[in-house]
Structure formats: structure tokens, C-alpha cells
Symmetry: D2
Subunit: 349 residues, 4 copies
């Protein structure tokens, strides 16, 4: 019963096998292999356009930090939700890599930036007013850190603000597959057709062991990216081993199947929490993360039974302050979560 | 006949299998798993001391860049050989990560810094003279970029200079195993017993697909390293998959066996070049890289036969300038090089 | 009637004369002159301790940015009031100079951080939790950006929080003289005796034309500062011309006299706004800045009469939101403000 | 007899007076005053073109560092002479401000880069080869660090290399006036008409106390410079006091008169060293710095008589190594050097 995080899971068998198969052969280094190129082709197919560039990186933090570096301007400020991974969990990597850009927290309910709050935050940096600095990018997290998703309309509302200020729009898609499965739309719809310019595309949490990419639409706009990527120590010599993972991941919609499974398991979890007398859902989940209020006795029982999961801070604006007596917990389902895991948990609460 | 680079090879079967085995299980993320801890234990055993910290990273460039960041001072200057990987092949990553440190090239024959040249270079930065900046570290590459190695005495001569100036000594050990096999000494002898403080320990070129580490002796001296590591986007969520590779790599001296094999193959290659009428060795190799002068016809014949290898710039001070008529080529042997590869090449020259 | 800013004023005659006198002589460069040393002596006298180091810089932004650089840690976060100059008006200089440190806004009434809010903000960065980053410093602005001051008890409450977390305390004293005049205490009381470690000491706004300094107590704690200072391009070759200004400024308490005058003029201004039927004070001023609500007709009359002053955003938490019908204006008095200026303004409102 | 440096001199009377005059008045801050604008107009007149932008900074190091930051690219390398101030005397400021750019030393006789050596150095960074990094700028120092100057043909030879590689050309003109007086050409000829894009224009060493500027031709090419400037803490609030200095400096060719005087004094010094039996010129000076070989007895006699001057390292390639028995000394003349100083020195040697 592992619900601590989707990054506690191993790797899916098909991905693991493809990796092993690649291990048996020689191939050009630094992204020049046929497998590397084939995977770029897969991304182009998936996103339904030819001008897509793909930069493999080792962590989601790296993808985000490189996106911010790509968009950086002197005195630059990027806008993202107050609970965004970039703000809360990356040890200042985006600020560091970008040479000191600022991440400005924007509020909004349930992990999603409110477009009006976003516009107000940007308005504090008037054009050409050097004292304040200048806006440089907007970043949204899809799925969000608290298991919700932006609808296509939500994304377009954010991208309208970006467009009005001439700002590139970045999507942190560490759980891109889960969000896509939740929206049941195309990858193109959820990204460039809705105004996304730069995408952190995550495979690690959804069945790969280490496969993340910075995906860039209209790469001619960012000609420095090959150097930004290499300078950041993210150009793997045996790049084709990341490619091998993505190759299996993206083949025959494996990734979507894994994401749908994880979401379904999360849905079942949510159902359990909703119905149990000792627990309640903190809010409705949309992807593969479930947040629930659980009393101490029940939480202890779960832990004793070997379940892993984390207590969580109440998000800003959720109507709970820090000394609240209700304790929030996060449960994450993954490709490796089984129906048996859910049944056992259900039986305990 | 792949001699282009040791990073064109795949991964060793035992390492690949360990990775697949790890894929089947859940485990704590971010380096907290039992496997992560066990691997740190293996490093402690290998280096024969308890106060060793190990930070997994994705590339050798990352290991080097983090070492420089750890040693960084304002206006800091690190000294390394003119042909060092940090200077020639990392797109400025050490300078970038360290916030602008300078890499000062030091000359010396056959890829090794001359201790007197090193001392002279340091002398250009007198203590407390703020205008020049200040020395911050010395870095040596073992094995060197041109396939030679520092003897233990050589290392100690460099470390004496470091000690005289109170500077930490870093070793870029992207080919640590090959150097160790060449010297036939203990890892402790080649590192901390000879004055090395910070070590980039490479596994990728010697049979892993992605396993590099920054190894630190006396970690109490560098208390900020956990943050330096995370901020650099190098803390893998599924860290235990790097651990799995190292676990197999370090078990029962697999790594040394692989390195010895690669060196032996390089030795056989060197022998072939030494004896063939159409080729000559540029200098005697010590590890797994061989540099040879080959005439155009022979080089073409090799290429036609499917051999991969790269032309190379004559190193500074080798008595050849850029418009020299003699073309230098690099041949790299790896764990995956076979005796058959050597025989076929021999037959062609 | 110049009330736009204290940095619109010229320079005090005594300071200007001292500068001219220095112009007639040769002297060692880069801070080595007798005048440079004498001024450091003056600072030691004023702060009543011997271990004080003084680094001249060109702008208050430079002083603040160097203080943050001195305190920087990897993934570091500094805490300051939401309206702090570092956050609002320095184009990201502190983030840039420090290699990507984050400035975390802290709320509190009337421009002063609330110690409890501060403690809560710090608590979001638990010790040794690498994902979040780590606290590195606290910075308070004295006098604040909105013309109030921290009492000695206020400072000590902040410094208690700093002490509890082992964080250095920085004071942005761009208007140090005005704050000191307001509190009527000693410089030592307002700084190191109340826990301040690093001080941005401003002379420019109070009668110098360009004289700012980073003042450091217990300089042995920050041995890298000479290099940090030089690397930041802030070591003036003709440093003694900054020294000359400070020499006159600090002599015979000239600086305190100028600050008291500016504060008195601000007091008279406040009195005028308080009593006039068309205006009202936004809050009680303590130093040399006055914030008032003025109706459009009166504001226009003032502008027509040649008065300079700026509209201002309502500070966070002041109970006004952006589309408020009440317009806030800032009026700043300086050493050069005259009683005649006040009378003329009084007559107009 | 002050020959230690031109930055040991005070300030010229006319400049000092203009500064005092400005002190008596209020004026808009941050470069918005009429005086600031008038000075930009003066620069445009002097350089005979309208599209010139001028950014005042506090030190020559700041001007150079901002130029490098403006030209920076990821993994960027700037090429300058091995003895350039940026390499030898700025504590790594250009590397720091630019986010880790590298300064690549280029050799050439008498302080001037050899265009062929320059081209060879650039060739080590082939286009689109991410491993090496990429060229980003060329910088030449005019007058050079050792008192020579590039002729117009010399500058054009360098700028031809810059043009061939699409690189911006920066001129470090800390002693711009002295070089101009030596060449007796127009400022336009020595800069943009010969291919210079970015200019560090120094006034401090030639009679101002603190007046340096980054002068930019075709400012539309560098739209981020206002933010680069502010973020670097170089936007002075009382900017008009720098403007006041430049206003007097540039009026009626005062600056050229001062430079000609300094050069003439250096010429007289050189003549003295050339003729005296105990001294010899190291090489022919062109601007205001003179380098001479002096025996220990004579050097002691000069010091005893109160002369200030510095021993100097033999420049690379001058045919002297460090343990040479001939000691090199630098003597710098300035606007404040008098004929009496020269006569007294002459009498002593």
C-alpha cells in the first residue's frame, strides 16, 4: 500500500525491457543516436506538429529550471501558483539557473492561478519601469500540486493574460499524462493549441525511472537552448537510454494507459475516503493525487498496516490555518497501484 | 569496431539486470531508500573510511560543476590542465554553476599539470590582493583526457602545491576505474591518502548507463553540499535506480574487472598501431584511450570497414601546430570492446 | 517645493566643500588613503566598537545586494517586509548578486514585519529539508519605506527570531539618520546592541551626493567581503572621494542635524495635512516621509504651483484595494526642505 | 612626484566646480534630469551619431562587466588580450556579472591582440558545437594596459575578425582620452567607424573623480540594457552628479586637453628614461603610461625623494621571465602631473 508518492514506484516492465535492450548495443553519444531521433519524432507525432524540439533532462526540476532560464530577462519575474513545485520544492533551482529570476506567487483556489490575480500580480511590474524589474514568463502546473487540473478554458484564460503581456507560457507537466487522462483531450489541445510555449514533460512519475524532457514549440524562438541545456550539465552522454524509456513509454499509448490507471485508482481511493465515516475528502481530485482529512486513530491504523502516505500542509486559501485540528494527508496513486491496495486501505478506514 | 568513445557503449549485463530488478519494487524517493544507503556503504568500504559522502548526479559535468561550486569563493580561480574536460568540453558549466569562477589553464606534458607551472599560475593570484581574485581549488583529471595517468607521486606533487596554498584538491575521475587499473593501487591511495578532497567518480563510461557521483571525503567540511546538490537539479526522485547501477558496478570488483579489460584492449590497440607500417602511436597510453597518427588512406579504409573513431586536436605542447600534416586520431576501448574488434582493426592497418 | 524624494535634493554645502578640497590632492587609490582610514575610524567611534568594517558602495541597492550576497547560502531565502525596497525597487539586484537567493515577503502593519508572521514564514523552510531551500537572513528597513520606524523593542523582537534560527540580521538603513533622529537613541543601540549584523548605511538621501556603505559588525565572520565587494565592481579607484563626503557628513554630528531637520519638516507637513480640510494623513509619520490622502483638485493645485510629489500604491494590508477612490500621495522632506516650502504648501491646501 | 597611477590624482578644478554647482539645486533622480539628458546629447555630438545610449556607472570594472553581460550567451566566451584589465584586475567581475562567461586570453605583442592569434582562439569554439561553448564577444583595451595603443588599422583588423564571426566588439576605454590624443583621430573613427559596438568610456583617470559610462552604439540591438544596468546596482539616484562631471569634462574639449597634457608628460618622462644612464625604456609609450627598467639604487633614490610608482610584472611574451634580473617599473602621468614633477625626477636619475 504505497501512497507516499508516484515517485516511490519502480518502472513499468515494458520500459525496463526497452532499457535493457538498448544496453546491449553501441550508439552515438550526446543525443545523436537513431533512437534519440526516433523519440523526437514520436513527440512530434504526439503533439501534431513538426517544429517541436525535445531536450532530455534528469529531473523535473531541471526541466523547469531550464524553461525559466530560457525565458529569463534581466530583473525578470515569473508568475506561478503559490503552491507550485518551482516555489515550494526545488530549493531555488529556477532562481539559481536563471541567474536570479524571481518567482512571484499567485493565488487561486484549488491549486490553480486565478487569471485576475495573475493580471494584478503582473501589473505590479509596469513596462519599462526598471526599478521593479520586468515580467518574463508565466508557469502553470498541470496537473496541479494538489491533484486538480486546469480545464482547457482555464489554460486559455491564463494564456490570454500571457498573450496580453507578451509573455511565454510554461507548463510544468510533471504529471502531464495524468492531467491529459483527466481532461481526455489531445496533447496539442492541452499545450500549444491553448497557448503553451514551453513544456516540462514528465515520464518518471508515470512509469519511467528517469525520463523527463523540456519540450519546446517553435524552437526557432529559443536558439540558445542547446547551449542552455549542455551548460546545465543535462546533456547525457548515453542520452539514448533516456530515449529508450520514452520510446517504450510513448509507444502505442502506453503512457496514457498508465495514467488512466493511476487516475482510476485515485478515483477509487477518493470514493473510499468520501464514504468512510472516519475520513473525508479535502476536495475532489481530478488526477492521481487524493487529499483527505483523517483522524489520528485511523491514520495510525493505516500506518501500522504498512501504508505509506504523507501529512500535508493545508494550501493557502483553503480556509485552514496551521494550528487547525484537522490533519490533511496526501495519497498518491501510480501506474503500480493495484486494486488490491485500494481494497486493503478501504478495509482499514 | 566502436572506438569513438567509451560512452558509445551500452551497459554491462549485470548492471542492466540490477536496474531491472529494482524496477519491480517501490522504495523511498530522493536517496532515502535502503539501496541508496547500501551504496554509500559500498563507497565507504572501497575508500576505507567512514566519513565519505556520496552525491549521485546525472553527468560527469554535473559532478565537476558541483565540486567547483562547493569550493567556490568570490573571485575564485580553479587551476586545471589546459586540456581538462572542464575547460574543453563542458560548455562553461563549472563557471556557470559556481557563479562565475574562472578556470585557469595550466600546462604540462602529456595531459598532466606540471607542479611548477601550477605553482607559477597560482602565484599570479597573491593572497588578499582583491584585484586579481583568489585561488579556490585545483583539479586534476585521472585518467587524463589523453589517456595518460598521474602516478601516485604525481598526484602527491600536485597535492603538495594545493596544501601549500590551502586549496582543496579535486579529481575528475570520469575514468577513475581505468586509472586505478592502470596504477594498480587502492582507491584510497589514489585519492584521500594522496590529498584528494573531492572526487568526480564516473561509472557511465565503464559499464553503467548513467551513474556518476560526487564523492566527498570529510563531508563536515562541506556542510552546504546537500543544498548545492538539490539546487543544481541533480537530486533524482528515483535515486535508487542510480544506486542500483552502482550496487552492481561495485559488487565483487566488477568495475575493476571492466576497467582492466578496457585497458587491456587499449593496450592491444596501441600495440597494433605501434607495429603497423601505416600508423604510429602519438604517445604511450596508460588507460583505455589510444592516440595514433594515421595516414588518410588507412583512416579511410578503417571508416569504410565500419570502425568509428574521431580525429583529435594535437594537445598544446605536443610539438604540432594546427596545420600539421600529421593527423591525430583517438581510439577508445571500453568494457564492451572485444578481442575480435582489435583483430579486425589490426587486419586493416 | 520639492517633495518628490529626498534623492532629488542636491548635496549639503559642507559635504560639497570637503569633496572639492579632496580634489586638489593626490592620494592612494582603492581605499588605501588616510582619508579612507580616518572615515572607518569615524564609523568605529559612532558605533562604539572597534571591530567594524566599512565598505563604500555607489548605491543603496549595492549595499543591500552585497549584504545578501554575504549571507547567501545555496537555496537561500531572505525574509523582509512585503514593501521592502529590496523587493519592490531593486530590479532583482539582491537575487542577481547573491546567485539566486529568494526574497520572501513578510507582512506586518505600517511597513514593519510582524515577528509572528516572520516566524511563520521561516517555518515553511524546515532545517535540513533540501526541497524547500533554507533560510539565510532577515532584513528590516529602518526607517521603513512608508516613513515609520521600528522601535528598539520592535528591532529586538525581530532579532530574537533571527537568533532563534541562527540567521544574520540585516538593516537597510537608506534613511538610517532619519530613523535614528526619530528614535533619539545611539547608533549602537539601533544596530548591534539590538542584534543587527550587517547594515546598509545611507548618506545620499541625507545630504551627500553619493555616499553609501555596507557596515559590518564582527567582520571576522565575513572574511570574503573584500572579494565580494571588489567582484561586484563597487571598489572605487578614487574611493577617497566617497570618504571625503562621509568625513564631512559624520563630523560634529552634521548628519544627525540634517536628519532632525528633515524629520521636523516632515512633522510640519504632517501637521498641515492633518489640519487641512481637503487632505488627511494616511498614517502618522515618524521620519521624513509623509503619506496623505488628497483629493484631485487639491493635488492639481499643488502641482500647478510647482510642487513635486508622487502618487503611491496603498501598502498591502492598509485596508485599501487598488480601485479605491482615495488617492494616496507621498511627500518626502530632506535636509534641503525649507520652512518656506512648508508654508507655501500649507497655503495651498 | 605621483606616478603610481592616474587614479591617485584628484579631480580637475572645472569638474569639481560643476559638481559643486549642481549640489545647490534639486533635480529629478535616476537619470531623468535635464543635466543627464544634456550629457547624453554631448556624447551624441562627440560620436557624431544620434543612436548612442549612455549608461553612467561607478567604476570601469562595472562598465566592462555590463558590456560582457550585454553580450553574454550561454556557455559564452569573450576574447581579450592576456594582460587585459578584465582578466588581470577585476576579481572576476565580468565572469560574475555575466553569469559565468569565460574570458579567453589572446596573445599579441605590446599589449595588443594579434588578429591571427585571435582567430585561432575563436576557432577552438566551432559554431554549434555545444561541448566547447560559444564565442560571444571580443574586447580590446584602448589605450592598452601597458601604455601602447591600437592604430585605426589595428582596430579594424580586430573588428574584421569580429565581423567574420558575428561577434560584437567591445572597447575598454578606461584611458579613452589618452588613446584618442595619441591617435589624433575623431572619437567616431576610433569606435563605431572602426567596428566598435560597446564602449567603456572612462573619465575618472583623466580628471573626474567618479565618471564612467557604458556607451552603446545602435542601442536598439541591446534593448535589455536599462534593466541590466539597474539590476547591477549601477543606476545612481543622484545620477546628475555624474552627469555634472561629464558635462564639464566634455565641454570645450577639456577632456582632450587633459589627455594631451598627460600624454605629453609621459613623453617627457620617457625621454628622461631613454637618456639617463641608469634607466632604459622597456618599450615606446604611446599614451600616458611609461614602463622602464631601473636599477635598484636609482629606484631607491626615487622612492626616498617621495616619488610614487609601482614595480610591474613583465608582460607575457616580452622576452623576460619572472626571475629576470631586470626590474620593470610603471610610471603613470595624469592631468595633474606637472613639468616640475618631471624635472625633479629627471634630476634624480
Amino acid at each position: 500500500m504505497h501512497f507516499a508518492s508516484d515517485n516511490w514506484a519502480g518502472a513499468h516492465g515494458a520500459i525496463s525491457e526497452r532499457l535493457s535492450a538498448a544496453a546491449a548495443h553501441h550508439g552515438p553519444a550526446y543525443g545523436a543516436s537513431d533512437l534519440d531521433k526516433a523519440v523526437t519524432g514520436r513527440f512530434r507525432q504526439i503533439f501534431k506538429r513538426d517544429d517541436v524540439a525535445v531536450y532530455f533532462v534528469g529531473t523535473g526540476t531541471a526541466a523547469n529550471a531550464l524553461a525559466m532560464t530560457t525565458a529569463a530577462r534581466p530583473g525578470g519575474v515569473a508568475f506561478c501558483h503559490r503552491e507550485a513545485h518551482m516555489i515550494a520544492d526545488e530549493c531555488g533551482a529556477p532562481e539559481y539557473f536563471s541567474g536570479g529570476a524571481r518567482l512571484c506567487p499567485v493565488d487561486g483556489p484549488l491549486g490553480r492561478m486565478d487569471p485576475e490575480e495573475l493580471a494584478k500580480a503582473i501589473a505590479r511590474y509596469p513596462a519599462d519601469f526598471v526599478h521593479a524589474g520586468q515580467p518574463m514568463a508565466i508557469s502553470l502546473t498541470q496537473a496541479t500540486e494538489i491533484g486538480t487540473v486546469y480545464s482547457l478554458d482555464d489554460i486559455r484564460a491564463i494564456s490570454a493574460v500571457a498573450g496580453a503581456h507578451g509573455l511565454p507560457l510554461h507548463m510544468d507537466g510533471a504529471r502531464f499524462g495524468n492531467a491529459l487522462a483527466a481532461l481526455d483531450c489531445t496533447p496539442a489541445d492541452m499545450t500549444w493549441k491553448s497557448g503553451v510555449d514551453l513544456l516540462s514533460f514528465g515520464g518518471t512519475k508515470n512509469g519511467c525511472w528517469c525520463a523527463e524532457a523540456l519540450v519546446v514549440f517553435e524552437p526557432d524562438r529559443w536558439p540558445q537552448l542547446p547551449f542552455i541545456h549542455k551548460r546545465a550539465a543535462q546533456l547525457f552522454s548515453k542520452s539514448r537510454f533516456v530515449a529508450a524509456q520514452f520510446d517504450a513509454y510513448l509507444e502505442a499509448d502506453l503512457w496514457l494507459g498508465l495514467a488512466r490507471h493511476a487516475n482510476a485508482m485515485a478515483g477509487a481511493l477518493a470514493d473510499a475516503f468520501r464514504k468512510a465515516p472516519t475520513t473525508k475528502l479535502a476536495w475532489e481530485p481530478a488526477a492521481n493525487e487524493v487529499f483527505a482529512v483523517i483522524d489520528a486513530a485511523t491514520a495510525g491504523k493505516l500506518t501500522d498496516a504498512g501504508a505509506t502516505f504523507h501529512p500535508w500542509s493545508w494550501p493557502h486559501g483553503a480556509g485552514h490555518d496551521t494550528d487547525d485540528s484537522e490533519t490533511l494527508y496526501r495519497f498518491v496513486a501510480s501506474f503500480a497501484t493495484t486494486e488490491d491496495d485500494i481494497s486493503r486501505l478501504k478495509a482499514l478506514i
